[in-house]
Amino acid sequence: MSERLTKSAARNIFYGGTIFFLVIFLGLTLHSHNYIVNESTNEDTLTESVVAGKHIWERNSCINCHTLLGEGAYFAPELGNVWVRYGGKDDPEGARDMLKAWMQAQPSGIEGRRQMPQFNLTDRELDELVDFLKWTSEIDTQNWPPNEAG
C-alpha cells in the first residue's frame, strides 16, 4: 500500500467518512419515515383491528414460513398481496370469507403437501388478521410483486 497514506491518516478517513455516511443515511431514513407515514401507507385505515392483526401475525410467527413483501421464509406463498390474489378488490366479503375458511381448514393433511398448522384463532382474531393483510396489500410498494402469484 502506498507509502504516502499513513496509518493515522487512514484512521481519520475511516472515522470521518463513517460519520459522513451515517449522517446522510439517518437523514434519508428520517425522510423515508415521513414518506411512509404520509404517503405510501394509509395511517387513517391503520385501525386497532389492523394492529391487533399484526400482533396475531407475530405471535404465530407466520413469517418463518411465508414472505411478507418479499421478506421472511420461502416455504410458503407471499402474503403481502394475498388479499388481491383472493379477489379482495372486487369482492371484499368473498375474499374475507375465503381467507378465514382457509385458516380454519388447516392442516390439510394431504400426503406430500406442505402443511400449515391450525392456530385455533377465534372469529374475531381471524377478522383482525384479514384486516392486517388487507391493509398490507394497500402499501405502495413501487409495483412489487410483478404479478398476482406474489
Binding site: 500500500m1 484512521r11 419515515h33 418463518n64 414460513c65 407471499e78 403437501r113 410483478p146 402469484a149
Partner: protein
C-alpha cells in the same frame, strides 16, 4: 498464550461449537421437511424449526466473537482481562438465555419478526450480557496498549449492541417496522460484523505471517472504511419494495454494488500478507480457514450478493430461493469460517498443545465448504427456475414448488455432507489427539 485470562475464551469457543452443532442439526431437519412435508408437521412445525436454525446461528456467531475478543484483547492490549470472573458469569448467562429461548420456541413462546423472535425477557438478557461484555472489554482496552485491531474490534462490538436496541422498537405500521428491522439485520452483517471480520483477520495475519503490524493496520483501516462507506447506504437494496421511497433504487443500486469492493479487498489482503510474510506457520489449518474465509465471503456476499442486488433484477428475485442461496453462502463464508479460523488458531495455545488434528480439521474444511457450495448451487438453480415460472410467467407458488422439488433433494444431500464435515471439524477442535501424533512444538507468534 501469554496471559492467563485469555483462558476464558475456552468457555465461549466450546459453547459456540455446541450451538453450531444444534444449528446444523436443525438445518438438516428443515431441509428434510422441505422434501418430506408431512414429517413432524403436527409436533414441530417448519416455522419453529427454522427459527431455531437461524437463532442458533446468530447466537453462536456472537458467542464466537465474544470468545475471540477475550482471546485477542490481552495480546493486543498487553494486559490481563479486566475481570475474568465477570467474563465467565457473562458466558453462563448468555448460554442460559439461549437455551431458554430454544426451549421456549419449541413450546410456542416467541415473538414474530424474523431473526428477532426472542421473547422480551430474553432480549433484555441479551442486552445485559452485552453490557457486561462491553464493560469488561472496554476496561481492558483502556488500561492497556491501543492498537488498530483492538480499536476497530471494540468500535464494532459497541455498535453491534447499539444497533440491537432497534430490536425493541416494533411500530404498528408494518412498513416503518420493516425499515428499522434492517437497521439490525443489514447494518450488522454488511456493516459492523464486517468490521469484526476485518479486525480478526488482521490479527490472524499479524500472528501467522509475521508481516509488520504497521502495514497490516493500514490495510485494516482501508478495508473497514470501504465497508462502511458502501455498506451503510447499501442498506438501500432492502428499501426497494417495502413502502419506502423510489430514490432508494438509485442509492441501493450504486452503493450495494460497491459493497463487493471491501470483500474483494479482504481476499487481496489475506493472500498478499501470506505471500509477503513468506513464513511457514505450523498451524496450517488456521491459515487455510483464514484464506478460505476471505474467498468464500467474497463469493457468498460479494458475487451472490451482487447477483440480485440491482433493483431491476431484485424486482423478480426478491424473496425467492435465490435469497436463500445467498444467505447461506454469505453467512457461511464470512462469519462461520471466520469463527472457525480464530478457534483453530487459538485452541492449541489455550490448551497448551501443538496444532493438533490438522488433517482432520482440513478434511472438515473441504467437506463442509464443498457441501455449502453445492447447497448454494442447488438453491440458486431452484431460485432461477422459481423466478421464471412464478415472477415472469405468473404460475402459482405451490405449483412452482413442485417443479423444483429435485433441487430440494439435492440441498438435503449437500446438507448431510455439511453435517459430516462439521462433525469432523468439531471433533478435530475438541477431542485431544493421541500422544503419538504429537508433532514439533508450535512456534511462538510472530511478535
Amino acid at each position: 498464550m501469554k496471559y492467563q485470562s485469555q483462558k476464558v475464551a475456552l468457555y465461549y469457543i466450546y459453547g459456540a461449537l455446541a450451538l453450531f452443532a444444534a444449528q446444523i442439526l436443525f438445518g438438516v431437519v428443515a431441509g428434510t421437511v422441505y422434501v418430506l412435508p408431512n414429517l413432524f408437521s403436527e409436533i414441530l412445525p417448519f416455522n419453529v424449526i427454522r427459527m431455531i436454525h437461524t437463532n442458533a446461528l446468530i447466537v453462536w456467531l456472537l458467542m464466537g466473537y465474544f470468545g475471540a475478543a477475550y482471546y485477542l484483547l490481552p495480546e493486543e492490549c498487553e494486559t490481563e482481562i479486566h475481570s475474568p470472573k465477570l467474563a465467565i458469569i457473562q458466558f453462563w448467562l448468555f448460554l442460559i438465555a439461549a437455551g431458554a429461548a430454544v426451549v421456549g420456541y419449541i413450546f410456542g413462546i416467541h415473538e414474530g419478526r424474523e431473526f428477532l423472535e426472542q421473547p422480551l425477557p430474553i432480549k433484555v438478557g441479551i442486552v445485559v450480557v452485552a453490557l457486561m461484555f462491553l464493560y469488561n472489554t472496554t476496561m481492558t482496552l483502556l488500561k492497556g496498549r491501543k492498537t488498530a485491531v483492538s480499536n476497530v474490534l471494540m468500535v464494532a462490538l459497541w455498535f453491534v449492541a447499539l444497533l440491537f436496541l432497534f430490536a425493541f422498537y416494533n411500530p404498528s405500521n408494518l412498513a416503518v417496522d420493516k425499515m428499522y428491522w434492517w437497521y439490525v439485520v443489514h447494518l450488522w452483517v454488511e456493516g459492523v460484523w464486517e468490521l469484526i471480520m476485518a479486525s480478526i483477520l488482521a490479527f490472524l495475519m499479524i500472528k501467522m505471517t509475521g508481516v509488520d503490524r504497521e502495514v497490516v493496520e493500514k490495510w485494516l483501516y482501508v478495508m473497514v472504511s470501504l465497508t462502511l462507506f458502501t455498506g451503510i447506504l447499501g442498506t438501500g437494496h432492502h428499501y426497494y419494495w417495502i413502502g419506502t421511497p423510489g430514490y432508494w433504487q438509485w442509492i441501493g443500486n450504486v452503493f450495494s454494488t460497491l459493497e463487493v469492493v471491501p470483500f474483494f479487498a479482504m481476499v487481496v489482503f489475506c493472500f498478499y500478507m501470506v505471500w509477503k510474510g513468506g513464513r511457514d506457520h505450523p498451524n496450517k489449518s488456521a491459515l487455510l480457514w483464514s484464506l478460505g474465509c476471505s474467498v468464500m465471503a467474497f463469493f457468498g456476499a460479494g458475487v451472490w450478493g451482487f447477483m440480485h442486488t440491482l433493483s431491476s433484477i431484485n424486482y423478480y428475485t426478491h424473496g425467492t430461493q435465490v435469497t436463500a442461496a445467498h444467505g447461506h453462502l454469505a453467512f457461511y463464508g464470512a462469519y462461520v469460517m471466520l469463527n472457525l479460523a480464530i478457534f483453530t488458531y487459538a485452541l492449541p495455545y489455550l490448551r497448551g498443545r501443538e496444532p493438533y488434528n490438522q488433517q482432520l480439521n482440513m478434511w472438515g474444511f473441504w467437506i463442509t465448504t464443498s457441501g455449502m457450495a453445492f447447497m448454494t448451487f442447488t438453491l440458486t438453480f431452484a431460485g432461477v427456475v422459481q423466478t421464471h415460472l412464478q415472477r415472469v410467467l405468473g404460475m402459482n407458488y405451490m405449483d412452482v414448488q413442485d417443479q423444483v422439488a429435485l433441487f430440494y433433494w439435492m440441498r438435503l444431500g449437500s446438507g448431510i455432507a455439511v453435517l459430516i464435515g462439521v462433525t469432523f471439524i468439531i471433533w478435530a477442535l475438541v477431542v485431544p489427539p493421541r500422544a503419538a501424533s504429537v508433532r514439533a512444538k508450535i512456534s511462538q507468534p510472530a511478535e
